[in-house]
Symmetry: C2
Subunit: 109 residues, 2 copies
DNA sequence: ATCATTAATCGTAATATTACAATAAAAATT
DNA sequence: AATTTTTATTGTAATATTACGATTAATGAT
């Protein structure tokens, strides 16, 4: 096995899980934070910033790109990545709804 | 390999990734949603609600418990699980900070 | 045209995750 | 005490993830 049974869950649950999975590795968190921090779109120097091999960073970028959270523009020999605003805001909405539960009425038995 | 290099990331980045990983499976999302929905703390009927084997649900509960997001009280033969308010609110803070970035000033090159 | 730079892809190894059957453990019921 | 109910644990198989070296592809510079 090792394969998630997505068919028994709602679309919402699967979507939350998909986005969360993307944030489920510190390198991808670091990449996204870096893209936010830099006013200009930072490209391949992510490899220098984060201490992982080029192939590994490229792999993480691919996952974020596949999800739609980021997009890359080719700029000469290098590639310029940035957050996809629309998708990011959609993700925010989904997560806010899920995480926003106030713990006010939670009391254990 | 197959092991995340946590040592090269900040505590914050690792913590975000850890919580996100917990949300990275629809079954765990469903479990948390169920715990929120039910006014009384729901116990083992999670197995009935979600269509996964008992051992699998137990495994997912264990992960959430290890993270501290939920806690379980033994009630006779069954166990009553519920959200740990304190940890949940801490997680909310961490995530809000990370996800809360407004996409206002993002423009790709 | 040749070379350098940058990023993607391929191949591979190590480890982690998901799922379930079978079994064990613990308390309630008969 | 034997049985039932509920949950945890163990063992195992299938698949996914993480990481990196090596190679390829694409563009820019010489």
């Amino acid at each position: 096995m090792g394969v998630t049974k997505t068919e028994i869950f709602t679309d919402q649950q699967n979507q939350i899980a998909l986005f969360a999975k993307a944030f489920g590795h510190p390198a991808r968190v670091a990449i996204l934070q870096h893209l936010f921090k830099s006013e200009t779109c930072i490209c391949g120097d992510l490899v220098g910033e984060i201490g992982l091999a080029q192939a590994t960073i490229s792999q993480h970028l691919k996952e974020l790109k596949n999800l739609g959270l980021i997009k890359g523009n080719v700029e000469g020999t290098s590639v310029c990545y940035c957050i996809d605003k629309k998708v990011w805001e959609n993700m925010q909405k989904i997560f806010t709804e899920f995480l926003g539960k106030s713990g006010a009425n939670i009391e254990c038995c």
